[in-house]
Structures are given as C-alpha cells and as structure tokens.
Symmetry: C2
Subunit: 298 residues, 2 copies
C-alpha cells in the first residue's frame, strides 16, 4: 500500500505575507505532495501548514521550508501571543495510510537529523519520538521560550537530540516528532482580559482537572482586542469538540463573558464533525456511514 | 465516466422484521449496487432504503423489491402515522455521478413502465419526471391516501402515467421520479399532542410562510407516546438543518414543549454536516477542504 504521512509544521511568522507565501510555497506544486491548508495569525504571529504526501516528498519540502523560515525569521525581534522556541517551532508527523507509528518515528528522526546537519539547528524529539519521558510533552519542551533557551539547553536533561548544544542565533530550536492526530481548536472570548482566558484554560484542561484529552492555554489577540482559549484535543474519539466549547462557555459565564466564536486550525476528521452535529441536533445515532461522501470514496 | 444513481424507495412496512429484511435484501449482494442504509419505523409503519449503483442494477433491484412489497403488504390492513398511497409508496432517483437530470428522468420512466407492466400497478411520475405541473409535488399526489385513491384516479388530471386506472387491490399506486437530493430530517417533541406537531409543521414550512426549502408534516409516534415534526429539506445549500431545528424549538416553546431529539433518515451530504457544525461552534469559515477525509478521497 502507498505510504501517506501528514505533516503540520508551525512557523513563527504570521504577519509578513511574502514570507508566509514563500514558506507555504515549499509544499506547492510538488510531486507526491499536497498542500491541504495553511493559515497565519497576526496575533499569534505564527503560521500552521497542513500537508500530506509520501514520506520522501514531505521530507524534501520540510527541509526547504525550514530553510526559508530560518532565512526570514529572527526570533530576537519576534513578538506574538503564542509560545515558541523556534522559527520552525514544531514539526509533527502523523501516519495517515500504509504507515505505523514506528515508521513515522523513523521518518521524524530522519528529518530531524537532516535539518540539524544542514542548518546547524538544535532539534528536540517529542511525543512518540521522544528519547526520555520528560521530553514527550511539547509544553515542557517549550517552557522558557526562545528567550530562555540558551540557559535551558545547558541544564541536565535538556541537551538536544540532534545539532549543537546552543540555539541557532535567529532560529532557536525546533521540536520534531511523530504524534497522534489532534484537533487544534480555539475559542474566542468577548473580553480583552488575558487572565480570564488563562483561568478558563487552566480549568478546562486535563492537568487542571478538566477534560482528559484537552490541552489549553490563554492567548491574547491584540489586533482583535480580544482573548482566546487555544486548545489541542489530543484524542477526539474520547474528548469532543462540543465538550471543550461548552466547558469554556460555562467557565466564561462566571466572568460574565460570552463566546465570540471559535476556529479549527488545520484538518478536522469526519468523525469529530459527525460527533458535534449529532450532539447539537440531539441525534442519538449518526453513523459515519450516513454521510453521502463516505460512499463516494469507495 | 461511470454512471451512478441513488435510489431511496419508501415502502409501507415498518413492523414485520421478516418483510423488512426481505425487501431490503433485494439491494444486498448485487453487482454494481450497494445498500447504503435502511431504517424502519414502527410508528410511521414505513421503511426507507438508500441504495446506490449503476442504473441497470438499481432498476433490477427495484423491480425485485416492489415484488416483495406487493407480496407482503396489504394497505387495506395498514395503519401508520405517515401518509401513503402505495405498498411501494415512493421511488425517487437522484443522479450522483456521470448522469444528468434528464438521464435520471429517463431511468425513472423506464422503471415505472417495467413496474406497471410486471405488477399491473398504477404509477404516477413526480418531480422532474412529472407530466404536468400539478403532478410534481408528492404531497398533492398523495392527498387522499390509499383510502381515497379509487375515487381520485377517476378525477380529471389524476389518471396514472403508467398502468391501470384503478389502484392495485392491496398495493395501491406508486410514485416514481427523478428528484433533487434532499435531507429527510425529523424532530421529536416531548409531547403526545399531534395538533402541536401539526401546528409547528405548518408554521415552519415554505407554504405556511416558513423556510424556503422545507416541507413538513406532523406525525404521531404512538409507540413512543410522542409526536414528531417530519421534514424534508429540499435544498440544503439554501435552507440549513439548524434553521429547521431552531425554528421548531422556537415554535414548540409557545406550547411549553421541548425537543426530545432529532434524526436523519438516509444519507446526509458532507456540506450539510459542515454547515451545522460551523453554526453551533460559531466558526465563521469552515471550508469542506478542512475535512481530513475529503483529501483521502482524491
């Protein structure tokens, strides 16, 4: 069977259109590769690309895109609402078809080695690719940000997996690895108070006693003058999108704050879409088989 | 390009499992044909099959299924909450791939002629296949029910398009034709008062001043002890599922009645699913391209 992998690289550029297009362009018009989606956010000052293709084509495009990012992004000058340690901040790989998690881990290590070698860039492996349990979680790897990276990398346990033991002068470090599919889901609040978004994030996320498969942070959207609860649903078959939204709504109510809207970054699996619709319509059973397009695929 | 047609025949049998399985079985294990979904409702005393396949395979299966229905259903003994004039009450065809509406009309007439001939069954053509404007609408064709059919068929303007000018003694008449895709969407109410379901149906449907692409009737679900607003959304790109549900909710509120749940009968197009999810999550833009499975289809 043909091997297909999804790659969802995040770059610390959300404002300069020319740079955004150049980085995304590395995934355009390539053989065995499709650029599925990309979106940039001025407030996050960050872009997220979703691409799918053969392992070889993905690797080649990633190397090109990281080169463009290192050319154009200087983290010393970078400000944005979203945590980051690198110009090419995080490069996750998700197996889609014909690949095991182990295949995906191997691909991520192969890419990591190539990137470190070509750009003298320190790389941390995370999630399924992590080389120690304390290095699995992206939030832990990113703690301290680009600004704290030089010092952190000297600590025991925080040497990079590939590349030099110091940050790239303008591009910091990159986090690379195979992970499970997740849904990036953000809920905007009708408030400009970041402490409210942060308090809600702490309450709804797993580590704070909230939903099992939900990670969350508060982010300021300065240009829009509002704040956002930015979440990752790490297993959408367990934790539902509507649970995240409704829990945010419930928490926001204690501050008299309403929901301004929400957004999904990147791809959304059909099962999650069906789950959400069935909930809001009050449908007891809505099997995926009832979706017309499921059958046109066969 | 391969020709694919969808057929969604409705039979007046929702209670006898053996009969239901036999009728649905006409669409099973056939070449160039797939039985996608079937559901039977005891209160409606009706079943709906969704099948897709080549025009030839669909025609053959329909002829077999109508034969089974005429064998086992006697409308003189039939009681149910849903209007009907035939054992094989309505047989709609929807073009899916490689077929025009005209192709679908031709197929419907071909099937209608074969059914009339084989079973001495009167057939009315409807929707795109209708032979006069007053015969387009299913509700008009079905007015008077099986019980009024002998008399109605003698009226000017109500001679069948195929078959004898009198009902089949036990199977009544069938309505056959090519139509646009629609969503069959039913909303259940926490009430046993049929007049409430009927009043809501009249208010939300197009002819009553309601939603442009919504047909609706009130139906009693005696076994469940509740009533239902049973709707057809005839163009889901114009009228949304959530509009139907929320308008039912608004109308029901004036009677102090709440929504018990809802159901979709047959297939649901992805665009309608995306539309509903975007509404309830408050997502401004959710292109179909963001659904993972869209890309796996290519």
């Amino acid at each position: 069977m043909e091997k297909i992998v999804e790659c969802i690289p995040n770059f610390s550029e959300g404002r300069e259109t020319a740079n955004i297009e150049r980085i995304a362009g590395a995934f355009r018009n390539k053989k065995e590769l499709k650029l599925l989606d990309y979106s940039a956010d001025r407030d996050h000052n960050r872009m997220v690309i979703t691409a799918m293709g053969s392992p070889g084509a993905i690797k080649e495009a990633i190397i090109e895109a990281v080169g463009f990012a290192l050319d154009s992004i200087d983290l010393n000058q970078h400000q944005g609402g979203h945590p980051r340690i690198g110009a090419a901040d995080v490069i996750p790989f998700v197996p889609i078809r014909g690949m095991s998690n182990a295949d995906c881990v191997a691909l991520s290590k192969d890419c990591a080695a190539a990137l470190a070698d070509k750009y003298d860039l320190p790389i941390f492996l995370y999630e399924h690719s992590a080389t120690a349990p304390h290095r699995r979680n992206l939030a832990d790897l990113r703690k301290g940000g680009f600004e704290g990276l030089t010092e952190k990398m000297q600590d025991q346990g925080w040497a990079p997996d590939f590349g030099p033991r110091h940050p790239h002068p303008t591009g910091g470090a990159s986090v690379v690895g195979a992970r499970d599919p997740l849904i990036a889901y953000n809920v905007n609040l009708n408030s400009s108070r970041i402490e409210i978004a942060q308090a809600i994030a702490r309450k709804i996320r797993h580590i704070g006693g909230g939903l099992r498969c939900c990670k969350a942070i508060g982010v300021e959207l300065k240009e829009q003058g509002i704040v956002q609860v930015s979440t990752n649903i790490t297993d959408y078959r367990k934790t539902s999108i509507y649970q995240v939204l409704e829990l945010v709504r419930i928490e926001a109510a204690r501050y008299g704050v309403s929901i301004a809207g929400s957004e999904i970054i990147g791809l959304l699996p059909l099962a999650a879409l069906v789950d959400t619709t069935a909930y809001y319509l009050g449908i007891e059973k809505l099997p995926e088989q009832q979706i017309l397009e499921r059958h046109l695929m066969e």
